[in-house]
C-alpha cells in the first residue's frame, strides 16, 4: 500500500492503495464515478476511457501509480458550469445511444479525437474511433454526432475568439 494523490475532475483525492491497482477500480469503487465502466479489462474496448493530458487513456490497464498527480477527466467532468460539452450535446441531438453502456468510450474517445483533429475527415473518424467498440452497433450515429460536435465546437471557437471550449 502507498499514498497517492489523484486529481479527478478538478478535485483532489488522497488514497492509500496498492500502486498496481488499475485506475478503473479506484475511480468506480473509491471515488464513486460511473462514467468509466468495465468492459474487457484488456484495453480492447474503450469502455473505461478517461482523459489524461488530452489523451484517451484506458483506465482498466493503467496502474494508479502511473497517473499520480495527473489531471484526470471522466465523463462526469466534461460538462462545464452546468453546460454539457458539445460532444455530449451532439450525442443527445443525434440520439446516439442504444443501451448506452459503451458510450463513455465513444464520447471520451471522440472528445480526444476532436481535440486533435478539430475537423476530422471520415477516414480520421473511422480510424480514430476503431478501438471504441459498441455491440449495439451505434457507430453510424456516433460518426454523425462527431461531425455535428465538430461544427458546434468550431462555432463556439469562432464566437469566443481563441478561447477553446473543453
Amino acid at each position: 500500500m502507498s499514498k497517492f494523490t489523484l486529481k479527478v475532475n478538478g478535485r483532489t483525492h488522497t488514497l492509500d492503495i496498492d500502486p498496481s491497482t488499475p485506475l478503473l477500480y479506484i475511480l468506480r469503487n473509491d471515488l464513486g464515478l460511473q462514467g468509466p465502466r468495465f468492459g474487457c479489462g484488456l484495453g480492447q474496448c474503450g469502455s473505461c476511457t478517461v482523459l489524461i493530458k488530452g489523451l484517451a487513456v484506458r483506465s482498466c490497464v493503467t496502474p494508479v501509480s502511473a497517473v499520480r498527480g495527473a489531471e484526470i477527466t471522466t465523463l462526469e467532468g466534461l460538462a462545464r458550469d452546468g453546460r454539457l460539452h458539445p460532444v455530449q450535446q451532439a450525442w443527445i441531438d443525434e440520439q446516439v445511444p442504444q443501451c448506452g453502456f459503451c458510450q463513455n468510450g465513444q464520447i471520451m474517445t471522440a472528445k480526444a479525437l476532436l481535440d486533435k483533429h478539430p475537423n476530422p475527415t471520415d477516414q480520421e473518424i473511422r480510424e480514430g474511433m476503431a478501438g471504441a467498440l459498441c455491440r449495439c452497433m451505434t457507430y453510424y450515429r456516433v460518426q454523425a454526432a462527431i461531425k455535428r460536435a465538430a461544427k458546434m465546437m468550431a462555432a463556439a471557437r469562432r464566437a469566443s475568439g481563441s478561447e477553446v471550449i473543453a
Binding site: R83, Q95, C136, M137, T138
Partner: protein, 801 residues
C-alpha cells in the same frame, strides 16, 4: 443541463445508506401520496432516478418483504396520478436500449391524454410493476403495448366520469387535453386529473384472462387521433447516459457489499478435484472461496483483489477423458455426420411433389451453407448484485426478464418466492438469453453463502467463452427451374446444433445450476422453423434436424436465444439460395423474388404477400436498383463492387435489405459501403427510435456476417476476447444507411393499424444481402459465415478472380 441529469440527493442516499432494515426514509415524509407501495430500495430503480417527481410518489413497505406480485387486474397497479397532475406508469417491461421505455410513455400518455413530460415510467421491478415478462420476442410494442394502451384509456375514462359526477354533466360534454378536463364551450369550467384523483386510488378492477389481455371498458383512440404516438420524441434515458449520471446495474452498491469473481473450469466438462485455499489467503481483504460441485468463486472486500484471487487460486481439475466437441474447423463435418436427435417440419411438411418436380426440372441447383456458433458477447460482461438482508434476497440486475429471474432464483435457493425480488436497472445490451441470467443466480447464491451483499462480475474471457450461443447450422438446398426459369421445386434440409437449448432463468440449466449438478428431467430438444418468407413455390419440402455435440452439460457451447434466434442462420441459406436460383435463371434478383411473391394471393390472410411486394419495391426504389442478373461483368480494378438483396418476413414484420459492397481483390476485404433497408412493422410509435433500432439491428447482422464466429478446440472455447472474437467496428461502418419505413398494411389509414415488432427482424437478412452482393461483384459465392478477409480471399483465389 437537462432535467434528467440531476440524480435526486435522496435517491443517492437510498443507495448509499439503505441497509435493509430502515423502514422509512426521511425524504418520504410529507409526500402527499400513499398509493403504490414501495420499499426504500425500490427508490434506487434507475427509472425513478430519472423521474424528477418520483420521490414524491412513494410510500414505504418494510423492506423485509414479503414481496407481493402487483395485481395486473387493478388499474392502480399500472397508473398513479399525483396531486401535481403528473402521472407515473408502472409496466412489467425492460428497455434493452431500443428506446421502448420512451415508447411506452408515449403510448400511455397519449391514451391518457397527458403531456409526455408530465409522465414517468417505472419498469422491471418485480415488487412494484406487474409481470409482463420483461423483454423478449420483439414484443414490447407488438404485444405488451396493447394492455398499456387499454389501461391508460381506462384511466382516462374513469377520470372523465369523475368530472361528470363533479359537474353534474354527461361525459360527452367534456374534452380533455394534457390532463385538464374542460366543459366543451365553457373553458372556465375545468378540473385537472390531479385535482380529481391525485393522492387517491382508482380502485378500478380490470379484466382479461391474462396480463396481455388486460383491459377496462374504455375504447382506444383511433390511430388517427394520436398526438404523441407517431412522434420522434427524444428518448428520456439518453441524457443521463451521456452525462454520466445514470446509475446502472453495475453501479448498484449497498453498505457491506463485497466482490466476487468466478473461477471457471479450464476445460469444458472438467471435474473439480481440490482447491488449495492457502494460495489466496494472503490477499488483503480475502473473505472466502465458495465452491459447490464444479462451481467455484472467490469473494474479497475489494474488486481488484477478487480478480487477483480468481487468477491466483490453485484448483485441481480433472480433464474429461474424451473430447467435448469437435474443433471449430471440423464442426460442420461433425454435424453432417451426426445422427439427429430430433426432426422438426412445418405444417404441412410437404407441398406438392418436390421429388417428381425436381426430376422433371429443366435445371437443378444444389448448394450447401454453413453458419457458425455466435455469441451474445455482451459489451459489458454479465454482472449482478444480490443483497441477502433480513433473510430476503434482493437482486439488482440488468437481466431483461426480471420476473423469471426472481422465480428461478427462489427455486434455486429454496426460498419462498415472496422473499425474493429483482430490481431491474439499465445495463449492457440484452438481445436474448444472455449471461445476465447466469450472473443473477450466482450473485444470489454467493450472497446467501457469504451472508453479505455480493456483486459478481464476469470477466471478458468468461463472457466471450461462456455466455449462451446462437446455434450453428448446416444447410443443403436443392431447387428446380423450368425452361422459363420459374422455380418449380425446392427441398430445404437444415441441421442445427441446438440440442439442450437453454431457457431463460431456468434453475436447472443456468450455468451455476449445471455446475452444481442440477439437471432437468430431459434436455430441451431444440429445433428451428423453416425459412420465413411468403414465396409461392408449388413443390416444397422443408426439414430441420437437431444434432448434439458430445458434451451436453457444463459446456461453454450452450445453445440459447440470441437476437432473432435461428433467423440470420436460416435466412443466410434460404436468401442466398434464392439468389443462386435467380442467377441460374439469368433473372434479376429483385424481379425473381417479385415473381415468387405474386404467384398467388388467395392464402394471404394478413396481406403479408401484398405488403412483401410493397417492401421489396420500396427498397429497390430507394437504392436505385438497376434491373439485371447477377453477377455483373467482372471489373478490372482492385476494388470490385456489387449489390445484393435479401427479404424476410418475421412475425408479420417485413424487411428487405440491399447491400452495396466493395471487395478488395488482393486482400479479400469486404466493405459494405451502403445499406438500404425497407421496413414495415405496422404502427410506428417513435419513428426516430425505430430508425435507431433498425440501424443497430442492420449492423448487428453485418457484424455477424462479416466477423463473428466462436472458435474452439476439442476441450475449450478459444474465442476469449475482442481479438479472438472480432466484432464490427467504426472502421467497417457503412458510409451510408438509408431506411425506408413502409406502412403498407394494407390500408395505412385504418383506425386500428397494429404494431408488429422491430427489435430483431432487421438483423436477419444482412448476412444474406452481403453474400449476394459479394457474388454480384465477384461472381464468387461465399457459402459460409463469416466473410472474413482470409476466407473471401481464398474463395477469390480458387475462382481465379
Amino acid at each position: 443541463m437537462t432535467e434528467f441529469t440531476r440524480v435526486p440527493k435522496q435517491v443517492e442516499d437510498a443507495m448509499e445508506k439503505w441497509n435493509g432494515t430502515t423502514s422509512r426514509r426521511d425524504f418520504l415524509k410529507g409526500s402527499g401520496l400513499m398509493v403504490v407501495s414501495f420499499s426504500a430500495a425500490a427508490m434506487v430503480n434507475p427509472n425513478l432516478i430519472n423521474a424528477t417527481a418520483s420521490a414524491a410518489v412513494a410510500e414505504v413497505n418494510p423492506p423485509a418483504g414479503p414481496y407481493k406480485d402487483p395485481d395486473f387486474r387493478q388499474l392502480d397497479s399500472w397508473i398513479v396520478i399525483r396531486q401535481d397532475n403528473t402521472a407515473a406508469f408502472y409496466v412489467g417491461k425492460t428497455d434493452c436500449g431500443q428506446g421502448t421505455g420512451t415508447a411506452f410513455r408515449q403510448i400511455m400518455a397519449d391514451e391518457l391524454d397527458m403531456a409526455f413530460d408530465k409522465t414517468d415510467l417505472i419498469m422491471g421491478n418485480t415488487e412494484t410493476t406487474v409481470d409482463q415478462g420483461g423483454s423478449g420476442g420483439s414484443d414490447a410494442i407488438r404485444v405488451d403495448g396493447w394492455p398499456m394502451r387499454r389501461v391508460a384509456a381506462e384511466a382516462r375514462r374513469v377520470l372523465l366520469e369523475m368530472a361528470s359526477k363533479q359537474f353534474g354533466a354527461p361525459v360527452d360534454q367534456f374534452s380533455v387535453s394534457e390532463g385538464v378536463i374542460t366543459v366543451k364551450g365553457d373553458p372556465s369550467i375545468k378540473v385537472t386529473y390531479g385535482e380529481l384523483i391525485g393522492g387517491k386510488r382508482f380502485n378500478v378492477t380490470l379484466t382479461g384472462k391474462d396480463i396481455d389481455a388486460t383491459t377496462g371498458v374504455a375504447n382506444l383512440k383511433p390511430v388517427q387521433e394520436h398526438k404523441i404516438i407517431g412522434k420522434s420524441l427524444p428518448r428520456y434515458d439518453i441524457p443521463p447516459k451521456v452525462d454520466g449520471s445514470l446509475k446502472w446495474a453495475v453501479d448498484a452498491k449497498v453498505p457491506g457489499m463485497v466482490h466476487a469473481r468466478n473461477v471457471r473450469p479450464p476445460w469444458a466438462g472438467a471435474k473439480l478435484i481440490s482447491i488449495d485455499e492457502s494460495s489466496v489467503r494472503g490477499i488483503p481483504g480475502f473473505i472466502k472461496v465458495v465452491s459447490k460441485g464444479n462451481y467455484v468463486a472467490v469473494v474479497c472486500e475489494r474488486e481488484e483483489d477478487a480478480i487477483k484471487a480468481s487468477r491466483q487460486l490453485k484448483v485441481n481439475w480433472e480433464k474429461p477423458a474424451t473430447p467435448s466437441f469437435p474443433k471449430s474447423e471440423d464442426l460442420y463435418d461433425y454435424m453432417r455426420n451426426a445422427s439427429p436427435t430430433s426432426v422438426t417440419q412445418p405444417t404441412p411438411p410437404v407441398v406438392g411433389n418436390p421429388d417428381d418436380a425436381l426430376a422433371s426440372a429443366a435445371k437443378v441447383i444444389e448448394a450447401e451453407y454453413e453458419f457458425p456458433f455466435q455469441g451474445h458477447v455482451s459489451f459489458g460482461p454479465a454482472h449482478a448484485m444480490a443483497d441477502p438482508s433480513n433473510g430476503q434476497m434482493t437482486i439488482y440486475s440488468n437481466d431483461m426478464k426480471a420476473y423469471r429471474l426472481r422465480r428461478g432464483v427462489a427455486d434455486f435457493l429454496g426460498m419462498p418466492q415472496d422473499r425474493v425480488r429483482v430490481i431491474w436497472m439499465e445495463g449492457s445490451q440484452a438481445y436474448g438469453r444472455t449471461a445476465a441470467d447466469d450472473a443473477g443466480f450466482e450473485a444470489a447464491f454467493l450472497a446467501k453463502e457469504v451472508g453479505r451483499p455480493v456483486r459478481v462480475q464476469w470477466m471478458r474471457h468468461e463472457e466471450t467463452a461462456w455466455d449462451t450461443k446462437g446455434p450453428a447450422f448446416t444447410f443443403k438446398l436443392r431447387g428446380g427451374l423450368d425452361t422459363q426459369g420459374n422455380l418449380i421445386a425446392l427441398v430445404y434440409n437444415a441441421r442445427t446444433a441446438d440440442y439442450n437449448h437453454v431457457d431463460y432463468n431456468d434453475p436447472n440449466t443456468v450455468l451455476i445450476g449445471q455446475l452444481v449438478g442440477r439437471r432437468p428431467s430431459a434436455p430441451a430438444k431444440g429445433g428451428a422453423g423453416p425459412p420465413a418468407d411468403m414465396y409461392v413455390i408449388p413443390n416444397l419440402r422443408r426439414t430441420t434436424e437437431v444434432v448434439r455435440l458430445p458434451l451436453v452439460w457444463e459446456t461453454p457451447i450452450r445453445a440459447g436465444n440470441l437476437r432473432d434466434p435461428n433467423g440470420p442462420q436460416i435466412a443466410f441459406a434460404s436468401e442466398s439460395f434464392i439468389d443462386e436460383l435467380a442467377a441460374a435463371a439469368k433473372a434479376d434478383p429483385v424481379e425473381f423474388r417479385l415473381r415468387l411473391l405474386t404467384g398467388s394471393t388467395d392464402d394471404d390472410k394478413v396481406f403479408t404477400r401484398a405488403r412483401s411486394i410493397a417492401v421489396v419495391k420500396a427498397a429497390a426504389a430507394a437504392y436505385g436498383w438497376d434491373n439485371r442478373p447477377s453477377p455483373k461483368a467482372l471489373g478490372t480494378g482492385n476494388i470490385l463492387t456489387g449489390r445484393g438483396i435479401a427479404y424476410c418476413y418475421r412475425q408479420t414484420t417485413i424487411v428487405v435489405e440491399i447491400a452495396e459492397v466493395e471487395v478488395n481483390r488482393t486482400t479479400g476485404h469486404v466493405w459494405v459501403k451502403r445499406l438500404v433497408c425497407a421496413h414495415d412493422c405496422g404502427l410506428v410509435i417513435n419513428p426516430d427510435g425505430l430508425l435507431n433500432t433498425i440501424e443497430g439491428n442492420l449492423l448487428h447482422g453485418l457484424s455477424r456476417g462479416l466477423h463473428e464466429e466462436v472458435q474452439f478446440d476439442t476441450d475449450k472455447i478459444t474465442s476469449v476476447d475482442w481479438i479472438s472474437y472480432p466484432t464490427l467496428t467504426h472502421a467497417d461502418t457503412p458510409a451510408k444507411i438509408d431506411i425506408v419505413l413502409v406502412n403498407g398494411d394494407p390500408n395505412p389509414n385504418r383506425p386500428d393499424l397494429p404494431p408488429y415488432g422491430a427489435g430483431e427482424a432487421a438483423c436477419r437478412i444482412t448476412p444474406a444481402a452481403v453474400a449476394n452482393a459479394i457474388y454480384d461483384a465477384t461472381g464468387v459465392r461465399i457459402r459460409r459465415v463469416p466473410f472474413r478477409d482470409k476466407r473471401v480471399l481464398a474463395a477469390l483465389k480458387a475462382a481465379k478472380v
